[in-house]
Symmetry: C3
Subunit: 154 residues, 3 copies
């Protein structure tokens, strides 16, 4: 099964990769590495999840937001590499989860991203991880994912 | 035009790179990569911009702070590599912008850094990016930039 | 002196590396790099330091928490590489220090980690660094360290 088939089994489809909103790139590939810009829970060009987990958003909302941001990260990988064949492995996923005061279970939220990467990419989805609990994020986003991966040269 | 000439056209000049204030290095080069320490909006050894965008600082102040931190990052690249010839490309710029509650336009602020990198480095200034909105930063700095780049071996 | 002997001189011992609490890995090695998951001040499987520096915790508590998280990072390096021979150098240490409003001396806290890396690893402990001042962290941890290193292939 390829990535598209694995996503289809989950009822998901690779979206168009969100574009850059300034003089930067959605992703840069060099020296066997892929650095992706911060991915937000955007769907059809609009932020789908805003607010803080533990206040405006439930933990389940947060997990869904994490899955959506991860889906956008997969779209960036696909666009940057022309598919997933050149992907060697994810390296690290840093998840910044907008959090209400006192909410401390950010890893549960970030599991929404880790699970999708594992299910969609199989062994290549292995990753180190770090979760953070900011009180807000740009545009009021619920989550921002920063992903780094190892790739083969063309 | 080289980097110094491009900066001169913008009325800017490469400053001395800020030193480390502890047992760490301003930058480390290994394996074809350059990892730079967090850069603050320091000028002549002093923090020039402190406070939060959306409260003590305007968005324009924030952009100027981002440009200044980016100028310091360029100084670190120059010092670490002995010039810019070994620079292949920037990889990712992570911008942490000290933000008042409710201020959500951090990407506009970070454009102050992205624009400078593009103008000073040309194609080598391409970078992925992530913006964050902490309520405060070390020493009360307005912005902190974390930059990673690809380089050639000597 | 090897790393274990250097730690012993400080009265320290490499602990078992904290495991992953989800579908991610404590560390991933690829392309000559080691990416480690966020390390917390965990001892014997339990968070030893929670709360904010400048409020529930003193600066000295923070430094001790930073040292403990760094010790866990060393344990991850040891486990991922089967010892320290393959470690070329640390690259960057990002330290997120849970901070009370108005507390701005995060670099002093992070010195607790930088000092340990230098003392335990010698020249290989050189690293770029970035300090951050979030108001909270997952599980209420006092500090989270994100470490990246260069390694040789087997």
């Amino acid at each position: 099964m390829n990535v598209h088939e694995r996503l289809a089994k989950l009822g998901l489809k690779l979206p168009p990769p969100p574009g850059a909103a300034g003089r930067y790139r959605p992703a840069v590939v060099a020296g066997g590495l892929l650095f992706i810009s911060g991915q937000l829970p955007i769907e059809n060009g609009k932020l789908k999840y805003t607010g803080r987990v533990g206040a405006e958003l439930s933990e389940d909302d947060g997990r869904a937001a994490a899955q959506l941001a991860a889906l956008n990260a997969l779209a960036q990988i696909d666009a940057a590499l022309g598919g997933f064949d050149r992907l060697v492995t994810l390296l690290r996923v840093e998840g910044h989860i907008s959090s209400a005061p006192g909410y401390i279970y950010q890893p549960r939220v970030l599991d929404g991203a880790s699970d999708l990467f594992s299910e969609a990419l199989g062994d290549k989805g292995a990753h180190a991880r770090a979760a953070f609990a900011p009180s807000s994020l740009p545009h009021g986003a619920a989550i921002e994912l920063v992903v780094t991966a190892a790739v083969t040269d063309r």
